[in-house]
């Protein structure tokens, strides 16, 4: 069946399979969270503070004596949610703006794309800091900020696909049949513009997790005592010399999830690249 070709192709790629496995692992941990965590991630134990890894606390404890393993496990939920929600916030408006700009062209195109250029002119993290500073530091606002920052990326990718697609004979043929703009855009242009977006969105999940962690680290994202990985990293920073495990484990968790998304994104790019696929 034609629909399953991409999936089979994906599993033939070792790195994509590894990426998929890493994401599945983090996703599984996120879903099973409370069942897997050995301790309450919020329960403090002043007597056990900054303890190294042991049988009772495999990842050790932090400055308040909380179990780091449990906090990392609970943090998986937050990070997966950050990835999904902030990518959705950039994906849908970005795709729509790119479709409209590329298809209708002229002044609308100029207006939309110049606005996108304005957003792109700022370094991503600076813009995200700016937006969270306006909205107020909190986890939902972090997702919104990271989402808005990446809207122009999707708009640009979609626009460039649309510019090529609207000249294609099969798109023009629908207009020759009397088909309207909506039919042409959503039935014929959009489905053919999707592959690069799927790849970018997958890679974007990793970037979003990283950006949200950075905002958390800077104190603008999730707020303590939330077990967000970036916040944990920030808390552990002060004890790097005496208790490196406090920062190392949440850092490793970010690494695993971002690596998973990047490997999967690269694999998807190879599979969906039309020049590599036989007709």
């Amino acid at each position: 069946m034609a629909e399953w070709e991409p999936v089979a192709g994906l599993l033939r790629s070792k790195s994509a399979t590894l990426g998929l496995a890493l994401i599945a692992f983090v996703l599984g941990v996120a879903l099973l969270g409370p069942a897997l965590a050995p301790h309450d991630p919020f329960r403090t134990a002043p007597l056990e503070r900054l303890a190294g890894p042991s049988a009772a606390h495999p990842f050790g404890t932090d400055s308040l004596g909380r179990d780091i393993l449990s906090r990392v496990i609970y943090g998986a939920r937050i990070s997966i949610l950050i990835g999904l929600i902030s990518v959705s916030i950039s994906l849908f408006p970005g795709t729509l703006l790119g479709l409209v700009a590329g298809y209708f062209g002229r002044r609308l195109d100029s207006a939309i794309m110049r606005a996108m250029d304005m957003l792109l002119a700022f370094p991503a993290i600076l813009l995200a800091i700016f937006i969270t500073a306006i909205l107020g530091p909190s986890l939902p606002n972090t997702m919104i900020a990271v989402g808005i920052v990446y809207i122009p990326h999707y708009a640009r990718i979609v626009r460039s696909s649309v510019l090529a697609l609207k000249e294609q004979l099969f798109v023009q043929a629908i207009a020759h049949l009397g088909g309207g703009h909506g039919r042409i855009l959503f039935r014929h242009v959009l489905p053919n513009a999707l592959p690069p977006i799927i790849v970018y969105a997958t890679l974007g999940m990793g970037t979003a997790v990283l950006q949200a962690a950075a905002l958390g680290f800077l104190g603008l994202g999730a707020q303590p005592p939330q077990p967000e990985w970036g916040v944990m990293l920030s808390e552990g920073r002060q004890y790097l010399q005496i208790a490196p495990h406090v920062a190392a484990f949440p850092g490793a968790a970010i690494f695993v999830l971002v690596l998973g998304f990047n490997l999967l994104g690269d694999g998807l790019r190879d599979v969906l690249d039309p020049t590599l696929r036989s007709m």
């Binding site: 034609a2 009397g178 053919n192």
Partner: protein, 321 residues
């Protein structure tokens, strides 16, 4: 000729070219330069010429896929340029197109059945079940199987894809079919099958054909009347049999003398033209053909010859005829 279904009146299409430098905005590719003719109902009209002579642009103008720079197209005596969007949509239903490249004229992500049903959907004809039945009927009509509706275009060969394109074009029971080089992208062995299908469909459905091609043999086979184009102008129009047997215009004569004859013993005089086709940005003054014409004389360099009827049904644009 029967009643005129489509009539071109002084059609002109210029594409401005943005030349670098000071004299910007002046230059234009003169793709079609004052073409007038009429196509009767049920007729098969062939348009021949070299690549770049404007024959495809003429086809696009005739179906109002593009607006002419000057002149107009009459459909059943009414100016297409004055049609509002509702009437234009009705005209789109009546006039269908078969494209040159069957590989790029079908959306690769949609099933054949969806592609063929799409014109029915656009014009709101029938319910889902009726459309499915119509798709099956159309597939059979073009020599494919109803089961093929579930497949994707990439599963088909070029000839089969062109059959799918034809099925889509027939879905709305059109009166006019514009075939723009319908077989030139196909293997020679497949070309005959597709051409025969097109001819058979014309007889059975009483279609009016506009057949654009550079292949003289093909035009001789399918056309009732032929129009020969050179640098955006019609240089000769006539009934296919008479024109092919005895072309009148010097360009037509040269063109026909270059066509291969499927007989190894036949010896015929080749008329070799000197030079290349001039640029349509700056066509020669007077008769556009005069720099390459062996019969050219003073008047040809100054005055553009008009298309005149020199014998019943035979029109030539040449000062010498």
């Amino acid at each position: 000729m029967a009643e005129a279904l489509l009539q071109a009146e002084g059609l002109v299409k210029h594409y401005p070219v943005r030349a670098a430098g000071l004299r910007q905005g002046r230059a234009a590719v003169r793709a079609v330069e004052g073409v007038s003719f009429a196509v009767g109902r049920g007729e098969s009209f062939g348009i021949v010429g070299e690549s770049g002579c404007g024959k495809s642009t003429l086809g696009r103008l005739l179906l109002r896929l593009e607006a002419p720079s000057a002149g107009r197209v009459l459909y059943r005596g009414e100016d297409l340029g004055r049609f509002d969007s509702r009437r234009l949509k009705a005209f789109r239903r009546e006039a269908q197109i078969i494209y040159q490249d069957p590989y790029s004229s079908l959306n690769p992500r949609r099933r054949v059945g969806e592609l063929i049903a799409e014109p029915l959907e656009i014009h709101g004809i029938g319910g889902p079940a009726e459309r499915r039945a119509r798709v099956a009927e159309l597939l059979r009509e073009v020599g494919l199987l109803p089961d093929h509706a579930r497949r994707y275009p990439h599963e088909f060969s070029g000839g089969q894809r062109q059959r799918i394109v034809i099925a889509r074009a027939l879905a709305l029971n059109p009166g006019i079919l514009l075939a723009d080089e319908p077989v030139s992208a196909l293997d020679v062995s497949i070309q005959a099958q597709v051409v025969n299908l097109l001819r058979e469909l014309q007889e059975r459905l009483g279609l009016t054909y506009l057949f654009i091609s550079h292949d003289l043999g093909l035009i001789e086979y399918v056309a009732d009347r032929v129009g020969v184009m050179y640098l955006g102008r019609m240089v000769e129009i006539g009934p296919c049999a008479a024109l092919c047997a005895a072309p009148l215009h010097p360009y037509t004569q040269a063109l026909w003398s270059a066509a291969p004859v499927p007989d190894p013993t036949a010896r015929k005089a080749r008329i070799l033209l000197a030079g290349d086709v001039p640029s349509p940005v700056r066509p020669p003054p007077g008769c556009a053909f005069h720099p390459r014409c062996r019969e050219a004389f003073g008047r040809c360099r100054e005055e553009t010859p008009a298309l005149r009827e020199v014998a019943p049904g035979r029109l030539v644009a040449c000062h010498n005829r």
